[in-house]
């Protein structure tokens, strides 16, 4: 895989959001046009579609030249959130469970306020320095849910059950389109989202996350 594709994030240009009815593209070009969201790298799309990165880069180049796609731009925090996970290859199910266990050992005890020493939250994430007291980190909550559900695939399914209870629009408002795209230090700013996540965790697991 071409390493530069890991950093190639595209979105549809404003002019191309509603393409001309007579616009003609190949199926792969339409597929790429429909899939770009500014948060998924070209390398990730190539992996998902089992395509060579070079072939996809050629198609992307053509769409960029035609003005249909444009490079995505990020704030520093958004870039860190996107790029951290784009570099991580997908492990098999059991190693993933071990990864989460290791992640839990590295962290401060669950319930430590976000931004406190030991949470690993300083220096990245999406919170402005003055807002850290109001936000909380998503990854420790996910780790907590996985641990409570016994880890592994069951743990991941428990996370899914929790997120099923959260209104879709709240997730999109916080630009959460996939849990794989959320960096380790992603912090939730939206109090409504935080509240619904905590409520859903209580409903699904029967325990409170503090």
């Amino acid at each position: 895989m071409n390493p530069s594709l890991e950093n190639e994030f595209l979105h549809r240009s404003a002019a191309a959001e509603k393409p001309e009815p007579q616009l003609r593209l190949s199926p792969l070009e339409w597929r790429l046009w429909g899939a770009v969201d500014g948060l998924t790298s070209l390398a990730e799309l190539a992996r998902r579609w089992d395509l060579g990165g070079e072939a996809l880069a050629l198609v992307a180049g053509k769409l960029k030249t035609a003005g249909l796609l444009a490079p995505a731009e990020f704030t520093l925090a958004e870039y860190q959130a996107a790029i951290q996970t784009a570099d991580v290859p997908a492990p098999a199910v059991e190693p993933a469970a071990r990864k989460y266990s290791a992640s839990l050992k590295r962290r401060a005890p669950v319930g430590t306020p976000a931004g406190s020493p030991g949470t690993g939250g300083s220096g990245s994430g999406s919170a402005a320095p003055g807002e850290r007291g109001l936000s909380f980190q998503l990854r420790p909550l996910i780790d907590f849910i996985i641990q409570q559900a016994g880890g592994g695939t069951k743990g991941q399914l428990a996370v899914y059950r929790v997120f099923c209870q959260v209104p879709h629009e709240l997730l999109l408002k916080s630009r959460i389109t996939s849990l794989n795209l959320v960096g380790d230090n992603f912090e939730i700013q939206d109090l409504a989202l935080k509240s619904r996540l905590l409520e859903a965790t209580r409903t699904v697991l029967g325990v409170d996350y503090r």
Partner: protein, 158 residues
């Protein structure tokens, strides 16, 4: 009111899907790290889908590329690798998984007759937006097993 399928019950669909490939082809499918997605769903060339009712509301589908299905048809001794046969096989795989799931859940969970779709048709389906996506790889061909549940479902009556 929430969906009444717990983690262990949802995992049944994963185990049955993995079991299909191992049992029917003799080659196990590998499961990779799952994702939880909230954006517009992506589909491969062919998709076999069942809808769920009763104690859960939503759907489960397997979306597979043409190369996987052609390879599978060859393994099954079928020389006709046409689109129609690929579509039939996508439905047949889902049918096998659904039949075994019905045996597991009984009347508590209603599982529809599977519907096979090509990509363009699948993209038109109104599906729950929050999805559990388990990437699979069988014989080096990728596929996704997807569970998509709606947050609200009727309470169990029994």
């Amino acid at each position: 009111m929430t969906n009444h399928l717990g983690e262990a019950e949802l995992k049944v669909f994963i185990d049955l899907s993995l079991g299909y490939f191992a049992t029917v082809t003799g080659t196990a499918a590998q499961a990779h790290s799952p994702r939880i997605e909230f954006s517009r769903p992506e589909f491969s060339d062919f998709t076999g889908m069942v809808t769920l009712g009763g104690i859960a509301d939503g759907c489960v589908y397997l979306t597979l590329g043409r190369r996987l299905l052609e390879d599978l048809l060859r393994r099954l001794g079928e020389p006709d690798l046409s689109t129609a046969n690929c579509l039939d096989l996508a439905g047949e795989i889902t049918n096998t998984i659904a039949s075994n799931a019905r045996g597991h859940f009984g009347h508590r969970l209603t599982i529809s007759v599977p519907s096979p779709y090509q990509r363009a048709a699948a993209e038109q389906l109104p599906l729950p937006p929050t999805r559990f996506v388990l990437p699979l790889k069988w014989n080096n061909h990728p596929a996704d097993l997807v569970i998509a549940l709606r947050p609200d479902a009727p309470a169990p009556t029994a």
